[in-house]
Symmetry: C2
Subunit: 324 residues, 2 copies
């Protein structure tokens, strides 16, 4: 079992949202050992439901990497049962957020430990052990940051926007409440400074909803800006479409071009040195390169474990090519 301390000096750091990001992270775990890879998951979607603290993206990473995720649903756990939800619903309770029984158990135990004063990072690492993972999934902070989606119908918490309103209201802005005050985990800052770091990889996750909440924490954006290691992103889009979720819709609503070019421009050369885009988007490469961002073209869809491993390997190789 690996303990996280200031001595954790990973060669690679990956920032990830939920499903799409977790696929790449799964690929990365086939290329890198636990002590080489620091996995940082988004906590901007965390919320309270039925009195529990739910961390959807940390759990999607946990379930995906340990092989228990429900791939058909895209959330929750394979083969889960629904006794609690059915009964709460029958009693007239809040049933808009679909919680399976074993999924719920994770939230119950997380919440019990938080109430006892354990940190979210310690709990998440303990859960990694509980699910048989050597890898450590980490929240960027033990403090609270919450993604608030400002829409034409008002400010919505992420889950209200995403689950309850099914991403329908037009987005006019996004903020990350608590981000400035939240403290970055000390060993993340150490890892970003450490000379052993060979790349920071941003997963193909929604830039606004999954990656920005991580970057919003304390001085993370500044640390990434000044990071010596190559920083790359894998685009979450092919053509004008995102693999999953409301990425393209939000880009359009916020006035961005709906393409991998806009993803590159959003991060800018301050935050990334390179972007992996789909081969079918090769026409975008010159415009992206003109931003001072290198491009790598490949098939970026991940439909099989083989795809995930190949793309992860290519991302690592691309980042290696950006090392001076």
């Amino acid at each position: 079992m690996m303990t996280i301390s200031k001595e954790f000096t990973p060669s690679h750091i990956v920032l990830s949202g939920g499903v799409g990001g977790a696929k790449l992270v799964q690929g990365l775990t086939a290329c890198l050992d636990a002590e080489q890879l620091m996995i940082i998951g988004n906590i901007g979607d965390d919320f309270e439901h039925w009195g529990f603290h739910i961390s959807p993206d940390l759990d999607t990473l946990l379930y995906t990497l340990s092989g228990v995720s429900n791939q058909a649903l895209g959330w929750g756990r394979e083969g889960d049962t629904w006794a609690v939800l059915e009964e709460v619903s029958r009693l007239g309770g809040d049933a808009w957020f679909q919680l399976g029984d074993r999924d719920l158990a994770v939230h119950i135990e997380r919440s019990s430990r938080l109430r006892r004063g354990e940190s979210l990072s310690a709990i998440t690492m303990s859960f990694c052990r509980g699910f048989g993972l050597e890898y450590n999934i980490l929240p960027p902070s033990d403090d609270c940051v919450r993604t608030v989606v400002t829409t034409k119908v008002g400010d919505l918490d992420f889950q209200e926007y995403f689950v309850r309103h099914k991403c329908e209201p037009a987005v006019v802005g996004i903020s990350y409440d608590g981000g400035e005050k939240a403290r970055l985990l000390p060993f993340i800052e150490s890892a970003l400074h450490n000379p052993s770091l060979r790349a920071v990889i941003i997963s193909p996750s929604n830039p606004f909803l999954s990656v920005a909440p991580i970057l919003a924490i304390s001085n993370f954006r500044e640390l990434l800006t000044n990071c010596d290691a190559p920083r790359i992103v894998i685009s979450p889009m092919i053509g004008a479409k995102a693999f999953k979720g409301p990425t393209a819709k939000i880009m359009g609503e916020l006035g961005y071009e709906m393409s991998s070019f806009a993803v590159a421009a959003y991060y800018s050369s301050n935050l990334i040195d390179g972007i992996v885009i789909d081969v079918t988007d090769s026409v975008l490469a010159p415009r992206i390169e003109a931003l001072g961002i290198k491009t790598f073209m490949t098939d970026i869809s991940m439909n099989s474990l083989k795809d995930k491993k190949r793309l992860a390997k290519q991302a690592i190789q691309f980042s290696e090519s950006l090392l001076e």
Copy 2:
């Protein structure tokens, strides 16, 4: 559906703890309609677990009367599943209190509503409807009263004593924290004063752990002392043994004789006019009568629905005989 208001003028009030008491209450529901019977359940055993408010005795009444109780276990729900408990336990969480999935759902929904500011009495009545019951099960108060068992190993919350320590530590005293400050539900006080009241029946529950926490609330003991209607108790003991749980053991530890005589003496003629004891305890009758308490002898064991109905009917008839 019956709404509880000051106009609820039951002919019978029953005070009940969990399993044993619930058997008699089930019998009473065969004799009395919903508008005739006010069912008051003990809340001294209520506690917080996994962040939920659990009301074991109210739930035992709810499950028993609606026919979903697990009679083999003596708690929880028939045919319940254990996915959440298994998973919490696997993650190293607190698994000493056995919660089935559908049982848990009731606690989740109760807690959600309490957080929204609904009262325990309103929630419990709503749950009665949710379980298809016309009868209303009521906590004596919407405030908190907690039974604390002082033992040779220190003060224990009821559930710690009962479940965690399996009633093993010797009891030196019992107190009911919050009882004095707790407000009795106004319609309970009205019902106790109302001339339509024909009897107050105390179920065969543990006098110290199940009935005393109800009587400890506000001026309940005084109201019962001054109540015009006959007040009777069904003994929870046959010979020196209680039907269930630690009643006899605690009586011994507190220096009481272990018998139905001590049950009668504990309530005294201040609180009861009559006691139903087992036919095999007829030798106790003269001593009990000498306390100014009438006796009624019958088979007080309740092994079948038929037994429950018969005993309930006899208890009602006995109380009728005590009306001037």
